[in-house]
């Protein structure tokens, strides 16, 4: 990693030098660029025109674009004086305008029909009249107010789209028209987003990605080297006060980060594996401006080799996103994330087409594009449509992988284990906090079976764009419930969230990968630790997926070792879905339901039942989407089993009523929780056949444990016993170990040992 990072630094310096020196000179030498050339090129437009009839996906994109733009042409040019917030007339109108500008520009180039160019010209002329008259938008609530919209973020969106339109009609306009537009609209617009709003532009944040993309793209179209440099490298001066925060309470500039602009964004926002610290839902959102400016650079400044930059991290970012999905292509809802968002979103349609065309024509991307069922109406979309027509796609087979977090890849990560056959996917999270959208969920996990959630992550508490629910914005319960630790499948100590739920503290730390090994056919393992989230407590969670003929599907082993400075109360929740089928716990059902606690999310859980086991282990079987699942845990009779349901203290019915089993272990210092999760059987309501409805696990237990090792024993109903040994202190894959286990000596190399088929006692 060190080497790679150094390479990036060298490349960065080179680009810096090029930017202020040779690229500028080169551009001067070259003179004016060919238009269009930014996203859609003149050659691309011609080829699209020639292939519209023969490429069905391209034709679909064309027809949709034409239908939208023709409807707008009917309405005429409407450029109102800015006044409203999101949802209001002027906001929505200006938003529709930038889409219409971009699409009309493309249509002009593809059809060569003048009406589209005329529409773009007339609209731009209206904006050029209006813009010089505007002060800041009258709505004052943004930390970075725009002029057309209430915040610079939306103005930046406008510019990302408008710059594409300008490129498409550039040659249609007279020199005088262009001078007018550049002087009265584009340059002051770009200045407002950058030099006049440094708190918006000079950040490492997805907001400024949009600003940079807008400034960079208009700079490229105008061949304005100053704007291009500004976009690539940020403002050299910004005078931003140290503690200035944005509307969400996020710091404008973090200590220690001193480089800004597009390249710095790429350096800092992505890990070397292309993971974006806020999580896949926001990574999707941020991808679009990254991709658009990158395409502009690739077309007009190919010498930068932006898609090669930082060991192809932009390409990796898209690959990472595609892998952060369940069997339906929906993103794992890590941190603030709305469930159901998937790689079929328009951002991913763009990203997949672009990375296919500019990033090496990986045929696996074609299979995703096919599933998306749509392509961009530009060079990238043309490329995808052509190659799909020739059936060049290969299936994207998602593999087990670790995606490191942090710009240097040293801030923990995400471990994804996928079953070799079948559909089980385990996602373990041991990342950094994830900025303002992060959840307090160190070492949490979720489990998927194809497109079904087995052990779900709650996601966010928000109904995006559903006006009745707080105008579509974040709900109070996002903070009081969704971000809290108890809302996740991980350990809560003494009823307090990790970092006591304090973002400023959580943001300073990250969990650490301990080791992972996905090489085994029989067993795949990921292991991680955290010693910051809970004061005086170290958590070490190791999760494995194990395949064996004894089981219909691989089983998931979950081993959580906790060591602490004193006695604590430990709560370990497992969320599940739908219908409890059976449990061996003896239940006490309360007459009335009370909340489980009064803070850190506990106030949102009803206690539906309290359970105790009379004999080990604890077992629960449930039925969800016509499949059975079981969890078996090494509980002791002293453990309390809380059968909880989300929904307490929810006066506006904002939360989903989903169930959880919470294992509570009181007055304990060091302890280990070990569970096996099985996916088994099926139910068909038409044949009424119930298959394989029982767990196949007899027992799971800690056979022995000391400072250095923990030995897990899994007993199967057939009589077989399995051993899993974890080296708790040494993750080195070459270390040789020797341990006396159950009267015999076991030798092995590496951080874990697994053996099946030992005889039952």
């Amino acid at each position: 990693m060190e080497i790679q990072h150094k390479r990036n630094v060298i490349l960065r310096i080179m680009v810096l030098l090029l930017g202020v020196g040779s690229i500028a000179a080169f551009a001067q030498e070259k003179g004016n660029i060919n238009h269009p050339g930014l996203i859609l090129t003149a050659e691309g437009a011609e080829e699209i025109r020639e292939n519209l009839a023969s490429l069905s996906m391209l034709n679909k994109a064309f027809e949709e674009t034409k239908s939208f733009v023709d409807a707008e042409l009917e309405k005429g040019i409407i450029v109102p004086v800015p006044k409203d917030m999101a949802g209001g007339f002027t906001h929505e109108r200006h938003k529709t305008n930038y889409f219409a500008l971009q699409k009309a520009g493309v249509l002009y180039q593809v059809t060569k029909e003048e009406k589209y160019a005329l529409y773009v010209k007339n609209m731009f002329l209206e904006y050029a009249k209006l813009y010089p008259t505007l002060d800041l938008h009258p709505e004052e609530r943004s930390y970075a107010r725009g002029k057309i919209f209430w915040q610079c973020l939306n103005d930046a969106n406008w510019l990302v789209y408008a710059s594409q339109a300008y490129d498409c009609v550039y040659d249609y306009l007279t020199k005088g028209e262009r001078d007018n537009l550049e002087k009265n609209l584009f340059i002051p617009f770009a200045n407002h987003l950058s030099t006049e709003s440094p708190q918006f532009f000079n950040r490492i944040h997805n907001h400024s990605t949009w600003g940079i993309a807008g400034v960079g793209m208009i700079g490229l179209v105008m061949n304005n080297q100053e704007l291009i440099d500004r976009a690539l490298n940020g403002l050299s001066k910004d005078n931003i006060p140290k503690n200035q925060k944005d509307n969400d309470g996020g710091l404008i500039q973090k200590e220690g980060v001193e480089d800004f602009g597009f390249l710095a964004q790429i350096d800092h926002l992505f890990s070397p594996d292309g993971y974006y610290t806020e999580g896949p839902y926001y990574q999707r959102y941020a991808m679009y401006p990254f991709m658009m400016l990158a395409v502009g650079l690739e077309n007009l400044k190919p010498e930068i080799k932006i898609f090669e930059y930082r060991d192809k991290v932009l390409v990796k970012a898209v690959t990472a996103l595609l892998n952060l999905t369940d069997g339906n292509g929906a993103f794992f809802p890590l941190n603030d994330a709305q469930k159901g968002m998937s790689y079929k979103s328009r951002e991913l349609v763009a990203a997949v087409d672009i990375v296919y065309h500019y990033g090496g024509k990986n045929p696996e991307l074609l299979s995703i594009a096919k599933e998306q069922g749509e392509v961009l109406l530009d060079n990238a979309g043309l490329s995808v449509a052509k190659d799909l027509e020739e059936n060049l796609e290969k299936p994207l087979v998602k593999q087990s992988m670790e995606l490191r977090d942090g710009s240097e890849g040293k801030s923990g990560g995400i471990g994804i284990i996928r079953s070799s056959k079948g559909e089980l996917t385990l996602v373990m999270k041991y990342t950094a906090q994830g900025e303002g959208h992060g959840h307090f969920d160190k070492l949490s996990f979720s489990l998927y079976n194809g497109g079904d959630e087995v052990i779900p992550d709650y996601g966010l508490a928000r109904f995006v764009n559903i006006e009745q629910k707080n105008g579509g914005g974040y709900l109070r319960e996002n903070k009081t419930w969704a971000k809290q630790t108890i809302a996740h499948n991980t350990l809560v100590v003494n009823e307090k969230s990790h970092f006591n739920g304090k973002f400023d503290i959580g943001n300073q730390f990250h969990s650490d990968g301990f080791f992972h090994d996905f090489s085994g056919e029989q067993i795949q393992v990921v292991s991680a630790t955290d010693e910051h989230a809970i004061e005086g407590v170290k958590m070490h969670r190791t999760m494995a997926m194990i395949s064996d003929e004894a089981f219909e599907n691989p089983i998931v082993l979950d081993l959580l070792n906790v060591s602490a400075e004193g006695n604590n109360q430990y709560d370990l929740p497992y969320y599940y879905k739908e219908q409890l089928v059976s449990t061996n716990a003896k239940l006490e059902t309360p007459e009335s339901l009370k909340a489980f606690g009064d803070g850190f999310g506990y106030q949102h859980l009803w206690v539906e039942s309290m359970g105790k086991i009379q004999e080990k282990p604890f077992q629960l079987t449930w039925l969800s989407n016509r499949k059975f699942y079981s969890i078996t845990t090494n509980c002791v009779p002293e453990d309390e089993l809380i059968f909880a349901r989300i929904g307490a203290n929810d006066p506006a019915f904002n939360l989903r009523r989903e169930p959880a089993i919470i294992i509570r272990r009181k007055d304990t210092q060091n302890t280990s929780f070990v569970s096996v999760i099985e996916a088994h059987g099926s139910y068909d309501p038409v044949t009424e056949i119930a298959k394989n409805t029982y767990s196949n696990i007899k027992d799971v237990s800690i056979a022995q444990e000391d400072e250095r090792y923990v030995v897990v024993e899994i007993s199967i109903k057939s009589g077989e016993n399995w051993l899993f040994v974890l080296s708790k202190q040494d993750p080195d894959k070459s270390t040789k170990h020797q341990l006396d286990i159950k009267g015999g000596t076991v030798d092995w190399t590496g951080p874990y040992y697994f053996r099946k088929n030992i005889k039952s006692n």
Copy 2:
């Protein structure tokens, strides 16, 4: 109806005469029948053999059958001494045997490979050795114990399948072998199910349908006129005590019914429209033996014209079942019914093929067979496979209809309103009790949007064949919750179920259709009354589906007029699914959840919130499966709004946690509830676009009401007002009415009046 019923009686008498006289003589004259001839005929087998390669669906059926039978042949003949209950070894083995016998018989005829005939012969010889040694099955809990199985019902199943196998190998066996089998196995077996178990055989009940089918089918194969007569006309003597009951507490013989056997079953169990009083879930179960004996009769006693019998009621029964389904083909879960059971079940595969082949080749049935994706391996399946190969299918367009209940069609019914375009389906239930599987849900309704439940019916409380849940049998909560009135979308008075939840009383009464009119393009109406379910209370519910441009989908009007002898407390629940979006009620959220009551199902509801409205009307919007729904009700500030959730007093987690809104009106004598239900808009989590998320109803109210008329006014947000007037006492479609409404005089003909676009006040 009178005329039709008389015709049935005449036909019945004719069959009786034929049975004891001429048919017997005819059969004697004709001598032995050709084998096979019962279900699969020799000609059919030959044609199947010739067409296996060319008819893909037939080939699929063949391959599946062959794969099952070949695996059984490998295992050899296993005929254990009966001992176990369902789920146990001997039970499951004998069950597999009868399937294997039937399938092996068919394979012998289709392939002419002797190994299949030999297998059937050897298995039968084993049974012929075992059967004479058997006393009653050792398990004593059935009201009608079998010999092979614990109850005659399963023995009858055996005979229905075995008789088909015997038919297929009849000519393969020697006379001596046949004599042995008939003397030692088939005749005593049939006698046990009939003369020796009159309480099983001489009933009007689905159990005896199986017994009759078995006895009749073996009688047909053996050409044994005595058994055939017994099956057709029942036992002439049975000496069944008047009050004898079965294991479910059902009366063996109801007072007044004195004719038994197959024809009486057809007369009494189906309404003239083919509706089966227990509801579609049990109708599906009962269809198989009806169909099989009917095919046997059609093939071997075609002079009976069984598919013509009673104005083709067996054909109508299948048509009725296909119409009692939602957009996924799943049966409406009326009475005891497990959700998800659909016309893709094997019983409906058989019924659809048979009714297609023997009942007039209705091409709409082919489209269902195509959806089912499988056919029978016999003459009927051949016919379907051939005609599908020739693309003769037509879509089955489900229409609005009333299905009358009761053998004479005078015991109320089911009203189904379907939207002309789109997918909305309203199901209103005003039937008789539905025997032992009936629910106390007079005038309840449910609403579907395609395959989605909008206002759901709970169905049964049982997990069929899931052993952990009470062995797969009915759960305690079926009686304490699922059957109770409050579990349904209908009126509960003074917290007591209809008929106080007493089956013996409920079984004596039925609701009454008042009128229905599905002829309008703009409005379709169904109206029904009940004056028995609640002492001293008359309910009159009128439901309409109204189409108008002002609404994205048709709206549902629900008008419930209640008149009573004194003051009562009225509870009107509406169940819904998933996520509450908004309500105009002011909510008081309790700190802890308490059960809503202590009996009649109220003990199973948690009160999540209590609401009051401050201004009329009450409105609730929810989001389910990505679509929005709203209900608007004419509440008054005195009404209590209970936001309830199923799941209280459910120690074994047997119930689904689904929400309801319950409108409670206290200390009231006569009153009318009127609601409008809207399906509107959509939500897409990928685009995050929320469309049409608000109700379009401003108000719904009772504008005026007297003894004879009730006038409903619906106000739309656009400013339009609509009028719906119900003639409460006169359902006659030709009666002329005149009424002063809001200062003007309105004239109309028939039981209701509807007018749009009146001006707002």
